[in-house]
Structure formats: structure tokens, C-alpha cells
């Protein structure tokens, strides 16, 4: 009935595993997993747009909108319930994307990239001027509560981690479902040939608009989760460098599978941490070299590494 495919089954099975890892792994690793889930969702949003040939260099816009919406709900309206915060973050992102979508759906390729970048930078400019929101320093977000339950100390950490894992993986599973659905197939077709799509009897603009809204909602969710993990939001979230990172993560991880960007975000984070540790002054150079090597030797992203192994494993079993 549910018709789950392997990715979905694994994502769902991954929820308890990930939660369990939260108790087993050292806390700092769990921390990186937690923040990677937040930013990973945004990379995922970039990736599903990339599947339709749309490269968003401004996905930070919705990452930031989500984080700020939740933060402002906490700061000005005293909302601390995580479920309400998540919903607010997603709804505000969805609404903004619905409006902006009418403009963006007409654009493709580099123009889509640059226009989405421009929109995100306009928000950056606005937030940097708003002293009531702490300008470029941003502001802090209090710890969330869970339907009235307000844990403290280590319990709070675990609760938030669990509350991050579940929506993040569920969201990934839903996105996987979306990619398999007729609408997802249309997205794929969009990248290849819009004329044919129109001649088949469906609207390419509408498909782009829908995809854009989905991506925004997911990014908004990522923004809320990330902001809660950090306890702080600032306009850097919508700076182009942040958006650029999302694009790079999704290219580096590969667009082949939903899991790739989530996983890739974490790996990249760990690589960065060790690059900083190994050479605090020239870690960017190390990162750049690793990126170049990845592109040269793994043009389809890190995920192809796993894919290749899988393929050779299948060959051996067939023999």
C-alpha cells in the first residue's frame, strides 16, 4: 500500500539508527550530524532543483527565512514549541516562494541562478539594516519546548537531536517519493526538454513553480532545524557564500540519490574540521584541492563512489 522503495525504507530505518547513534557517538560528532541535517536539507532542496536543471544560487534565502521566521516567532510572540516553530518556518518559506515563484519560473540556467542570488542578497541587505533584529549580528533563539515539555541539560540536547533527525529524514523520504511521482518525473523531463513537455499537455512553468515551492519549504525546515541547533540566526544565512556552499555540496555529493546531499554535507563538514585542525591557516586551499580532485575523478559526485562499489558487487554475485 505505502509502496516504499529502498531509499524510503532505508531513510525510515535510518531514523532509529541515527537516534541511537546520538547516544553512542561522542557529542561533538553528534553536533556535526545535527547541523549537517539542517544544512543538508537545504543542499537537498538545491539538489532536487538541479534535477530539473535549475541551479539556485540563492537557496540561502529560504534557509534564512525559515530560521528568522522561527526566531522571530520565539522573540516577539513567545512561541517556543518546536512543532509550531517548524510549521511557521515552513509556511512562511512556502508563502514567500509562492510569490517569488511567479517571477522565477520564467528563468532557466544562469539567469535563474543569478536572479535567485539577487533575491537572497536583497534580504541580506534588509536584515543587515534592521537593528531590532540585531543587524548583521543576528539574535539568539531560546531552547524549544515539546508540547509543553521543557527539558534541560543533556535531556534537552538529546530531545532536540531527536526532533531534528525525525523531520529531516521524513522530509528526505517524502522528497524521494516526490522525485518518483509523476510530478517528479515531469521535473526530470523539464531539464531535458520543455517544448516536448508542453506538447505532452502540461505546463513547464507550473512544474518549475511547484518544484521551487517544495525546495523553499524544505529549505525553510532546514533553516529552523539549523537555527535551533545553533541557538542563533544571523543574515549570513542568506549571504551568497552560504548559498554557494549548498550548491557545491550538492554537486560534490552528486544528484543521484536523496541521501547523497545529507551524507555529503556531513562528510564535507568533517573534512573541513580536520583541514582546519591540520592547517588552520590554509585549510581553504586543502578544501579547494579536494574539491578539484573530486570533480576530476568523480564527476558524478561522491555518491558515484558508492554506486560503483555497488555495481561491482552485483557483478561478482552474478558470477
Amino acid at each position: 500500500m505505502m509502496n516504499l522503495d529502498r531509499t524510503e525504507k532505508l531513510l525510515l530505518a535510518g531514523i532509529p539508527i541515527l537516534i541511537l547513534l546520538g547516544f553512542v557517538l561522542p557529542e561533538w560528532v553528534v553536533n556535526y550530524i545535527q547541523v549537517s541535517l539542517g544544512t543538508g536539507l537545504v543542499a537537498l532542496a538545491v539538489m532536487i532543483q538541479m534535477r530539473a536543471g535549475l541551479v539556485s544560487f540563492g537557496q540561502g534565502l529560504y534557509f534564512c527565512i525559515g530560521g528568522y521566521a522561527a526566531g522571530m516567532a520565539g522573540k516577539f510572540m513567545g512561541v517556543s514549541d518546536i512543532f509550531i516553530l517548524l510549521i511557521i518556518g515552513m509556511l512562511v518559506s512556502l508563502f514567500m516562494a509562492f510569490i517569488a515563484g511567479f517571477l522565477l519560473r520564467r528563468y532557466r540556467e544562469i539567469f535563474f541562478a543569478m536572479l535567485s542570488l539577487a533575491l537572497s542578497m536583497i534580504l541580506y541587505g534588509l536584515l543587515s539594516k534592521l537593528e531590532v533584529l540585531g543587524s548583521t549580528d543576528g539574535f539568539n533563539i531560546p531552547s524549544p519546548t515539546y508540547l509543553g515539555w521543557a527539558p534541560e541539560g543533556d535531556t534537552a540536547k538529546h530531545a532536540l537531536y531527536i526532533a531534528t533527525c525525525i523531520p529531516a529524514l521524513l522530509c528526505a523520504a517524502l522528497l524521494n517519493r516526490y522525485l518518483r511521482s509523476p510530478m517528479g518525473f515531469i521535473g526530470e523531463a523539464l531539464r531535458e526538454n520543455e517544448i516536448r513537455l508542453e506538447y505532452l499537455g502540461t505546463s513547464a512553468h507550473r512544474a518549475v513553480h511547484i518544484k521551487y515551492m517544495i525546495a523553499a519549504t524544505v529549505s525553510g525546515l532546514g533553516g529552523v532545524l539549523w537555527a535551533l541547533a545553533l541557538g542563533h540566526v544571523d543574515p549570513e544565512m542568506t549571504n551568497w557564500t552560504t548559498s554557494g556552499q549548498f550548491v557545491f555540496i550538492s554537486i560534490l555529493s552528486g544528484v543521484g540519490n536523496i541521501v547523497a546531499p545529507l551524507f555529503g554535507t556531513f562528510i564535507l563538514e568533517i573534512v573541513r574540521v580536520y583541514a582546519v585542525e591540520a592547517s588552520p591557516n590554509t585549510w581553504q586551499m586543502i578544501l579547494g584541492v579536494i574539491m578539484l580532485l573530486t570533480i576530476i575523478f568523480l564527476p558524478k559526485g561522491l555518491w558515484s563512489l558508492i554506486q560503483r562499489k555497488k555495481a561491482s558487487a552485483e557483478e561478482t554475485t552474478q558470477k
Binding site: 522503495d5 529502498r6 531509499t7 525504507k9 532505508l10 530505518a13 535510518g14 539508527i17 547513534l21 557517538l25 561522542p26 557529542e27 561533538w28 560528532v29 553536533n31 556535526y32 550530524i33 545535527q34 547541523v35 544544512t39 543587515s128 539594516k129 537593528e131 540585531g134 543587524s135 548583521t136 549580528d137 543576528g138 539568539n140 524521494n176 522525485l179 518518483r180 541547533a229 545553533l230 541557538g231 542563533h232 544571523d234 549570513e236 552560504t242 540519490n257 541521501v259 547523497a260 551524507f263 556531513f266 562528510i267 563538514e269 568533517i270 573541513r272 574540521v273 582546519v276 585542525e277 588552520p280 591557516n281 585549510w283 581553504q284 558508492i306 554506486q307 562499489k309 555497488k310 558487487a313
Partner: protein, 433 residues
């Protein structure tokens, strides 16, 4: 078709990777006898703030840690190590999107005994509550926002700040202007368009309103941080002809403003106040027009009073890095000496004892004396000074003349009062000597 295979491998790999991470990097070597103290040092090592702030601060940290480990410091600091323990620093780049996770990694994985760091106010805001949560002694050495102890953690236990917040600079700048410049009827500002620049202008213009009611602001320029090109802003300031131009520019932006503004007579037509101008003195030399009012975010560098400690610091820094220490270096030195004073006073590197000793501590630093007397003994106050630039052709070096010193209580709000309220109240409770 849409490549939805091979998940098992993926998940397995991720579990294995995590397992690898755990086994390889969490090897916990907890030594109870503290022969060595691990110190996390976080400053900008890349990005635009690295050159003017991060690197001078890192240099000072390296210099002082080496000297402390070898017992080479003069006077009261001559004992070896922190209460006898050697310091092992771990440097981390503040230029990261995951500052909080990086901080937690320092605390949990690297098991540092204390963290000294953070230049950006945004970082301090984000880190402060986490430090309290992690229960780790954390000393902010440079960030300027007054909000850390006013709004974010009002009763700190683990967080200290050994530099005065930025309010002091701009209040003192306004006092200096009023004290030394006759006939101020108009003033204007050019500040970077981000929190520090906006706050600086707010404090300066607020202070001017109190100190010189008759004067009015005629232009407020807010170029983007790191813009580098200020042609249009300079034109706008020139057309408004203000008596005073206030700028909290720092680093490369400040130097660019001096080069471009100096070339177009902005500095001779208006009196320019550079609250962070000190870092440019060595490099710009004769390019800074005489008469420019210069501050150093505290009595640092050429504004420092003579002392054995300052002489040692300047000499050792110049010997090692071939350039003069600037105020970020002074701020870093303050933080490290603060920790050393506290540990020595407690005669222990135990965190609780050190914190207890740190609270309300008074200690000597190259720039004079620091009193930890705000926010329950966690926030430093210090007097400050401003001076007027004069280039000495004979020696080819710039100096500051007509230096005016302002004692701490004159330019810092009293305990329990927020900076902005204090300024707007007309500096209620200020005691100026």
C-alpha cells in the same frame, strides 16, 4: 531508473564512517595531573578580518604563550606557565559557518581547559549561551557588542570578557571631539553597514547629542563592509561640509578611506575621527593627515602608558613579527594575561578555582590596568585614550599628540545599566577625572 538503488551501502558507509570517526578521534586521554593546559584560541585566520584582526591576535597569542611557558614575562608574570602548567594552544579559524559546532568540538573532542577567542560580535552572541551550557571557561578577547552581558547571559558563570565593549570607544571619541575641537556645529559619519558600524555610529551620535546639543548630524554614510571604494561617499561628505567626520572603519577599509579621503582633502576640510585608526599608523605613515583624531579601542599601541610590561610586549612582538603590535594584539594579550593572573592567584588550573579567582580580578596588561568589575565581575572595564595624529618627518614615524585619557567610570556605563540607556540618560553616574 532514477538511481534509487544502493542505499544499504550508503547507510552502511555512513555508520562505518561515524564509527571510524569515533574510534579514531575520540581517544580520550584524560590526565588528572595538569602538567599541561590546553587552550583553544579562536580568531579569524581567513577572510577579510584575518589580516587586520585575526592574525595580529594569533601572533600575540603565540608570543605570550611561548613567553609564559618559558617564564620570560617581566614583573608579576614571571612565573612559568599557568600556575605551573604548560600551555598547549589549539588554533581554530573563526571564519566558519558552524561556529557553535566548532566550539563544541574544541570542548568535547580536543578537551580544552579554556577557550579564548572571538572577534565578531555575532560569534560572541552565538557562543555565549553555549559556553554556559558546556560549562567551559570562555574568554572573549575582542568582540565589541554590549549585548553579551546586557541581554544574552545576564548572570554569567563561565564567560568572561577582558576588553571593554565598543561603547567606550565612541563615548570617548565624542568627549575628545568636544574637549579638543572648537566650534562643532555639524558632524557626520561613515561607518560600515553591519552591526559594529551601526552601533558605533549610534553611540557616537547619541553621545554628541548629549555633549553638544547645538551640533547636528548632516550625513550618515553606511557603505558595505569590505567595499574598498568610497569615492561616492567621500563626495557626499564633501558636499555636506561637516565639521566632524566619525568613522569606525577598521583594517583595509580604514586604510582605503585614509588613502582616498586624504587624496581628496576630506581630512583637511573636516576633522576626521578614526576610532580604529591606530592599526594603520605604521603602514600609512605620512598618508594619515596631521590632525586626524585617532583611537585604538582602548589605551593600546601608541596610546599605552609606559610600563615595563608594555616595553617588553612591543619589543618582543617587533622582534618576532617585524611589525608593531596593534590593538587586536593588545586585546589578545589582555585575555591571556587575565587567565594567567586568575590561575596564578588560585594557584591551580582547576576551572572552578580559576573562575572564582577571575571574578572581579584586577590585573596589569600592556595597556595599563584591567578591572573585571561589570556583570558580576565578568566584564572588564578600562579607561581609554584618544590622541591627535602627527607625522614626524625627521624620524619618518607617526605619533599621537595631545593624548587625553578617560578613566573607566567616565566612558563605561555603571553596573546594571544598558549602554544605550546610559548615553540617552546623559551619562548618568559617570565620574570623570
Amino acid at each position: 531508473m532514477f538511481q534509487d538503488r544502493l542505499l544499504k551501502k550508503g547507510l552502511l558507509a555512513s555508520v562505518m564512517a561515524s564509527a571510524f570517526v569515533v574510534s579514531a578521534f575520540s581517544s580520550s586521554a584524560v590526565a588528572e595531573d595538569k602538567k599541561e593546559v590546553k587552550l583553544g584560541v579562536v580568531t579569524f585566520l581567513s577572510g577579510g578580518a584575518a589580516g587586520p584582526f585575526g592574525i595580529p591576535a594569533r601572533n600575540a597569542a603565540e608570543l605570550l604563550i611561548d613567553a609564559i611557558n618559558k617564564g620570560q614575562l617581566p614583573g608579576a608574570y614571571s612565573s612559568v606557565g599557568l600556575a605551573g602548567a604548560q600551555i598547549a594552544p589549539i588554533f581554530v579559524d573563526e571564519n566558519s559557518k558552524q561556529k557553535v559546532a566548532d566550539y563544541k568540538k574544541l570542548v568535547q573532542k580536543d578537551e580544552v581547559d579554556a577557550v579564548i577567542g572571538y572577534i565578531s560580535s555575532g560569534s560572541c552572541k552565538a557562543i555565549a549561551p553555549v559556553a554556559e551550557e558546556e560549562k567551559k571557561l570562555t574568554v572573549f578577547f575582542d568582540c565589541g557588542t554590549s549585548q553579551v552581558f546586557e541581554d544574552i547571559i545576564t548572570s554569567p558563570k563561565y564567560v568572561f570578557r577582558t576588553s571593554a565593549h565598543a561603547t567606550m570607544d565612541n563615548v570617548a571619541a565624542a568627549r575628545y571631539v568636544v574637549d579638543t575641537v572648537k566650534d562643532v556645529s555639524t558632524y557626520s559619519g561613515i561607518n560600515q553597514n553591519y552591526a559594529f558600524g551601526q552601533d558605533s555610529w549610534r553611540d557616537f551620535s547619541g553621545s554628541m547629542k548629549v555633549l553638544k546639543e547645538s551640533a547636528k548630524s548632516v550625513s550618515e554614510q553606511f557603505p558595505k563592509v569590505f567595499a574598498g571604494q568610497y569615492g561616492a561617499e567621500i563626495s557626499a561628505l564633501l558636499t555636506k561640509k561637516p565639521d566632524i567626520v566619525h568613522s569606525s572603519f577598521w583594517g583595509g577599509d580604514m586604510e582605503a578611506l585614509v588613502i582616498q579621503g586624504g587624496g581628496r582633502q576630506l581630512f583637511s576640510r573636516s576633522k576626521v575621527v578614526l576610532t580604529g585608526g591606530e592599526t594603520g599608523i605604521e603602514r600609512l605613515g605620512s598618508q594619515i593627515p596631521d590632525g586626524t583624531i585617532i583611537g585604538a579601542r582602548g589605551p593600546n599601541g601608541p596610546l599605552a602608558e609606559d610600563s615595563a610590561l608594555n616595553d617588553w610586549f612591543v619589543k618582543a612582538y617587533v622582534d618576532r613579527f617585524k611589525s608593531l603590535p596593534t590593538y587586536p594584539s593588545y586585546h589578545m594579550a589582555q585575555a591571556i594575561l587575565g587567565v594567567k593572573s586568575a590561575a596564578d592567584k588560585a594557584n591551580s588550573t582547576d576551572q572552578a578555582a580559576t573562575i572564582e579567582a577571575f571574578k572581579g580580578l584586577e590585573f596589569e596588561v600592556p595597556s595599563g590596568k584591567i578591572s573585571m568589575n561589570l556583570a558580576g565581575g565578568h566584564q572588564a572595564t578600562q579607561g581609554t585614550a584618544f590622541g591627535t595624529y602627527k607625522f614626524d618627518k625627521a624620524s619618518g614615524k607617526g605619533t599621537l599628540v595631545n593624548i587625553k585619557r578617560y578613566n573607566a567610570a567616565c566612558v563605561n556605563p555603571p553596573e546594571g545599566m544598558k549602554s544605550l540607556e546610559w548615553i540617552e540618560s546623559g551619562f548618568k553616574g559617570a565620574v570623570c577625572k
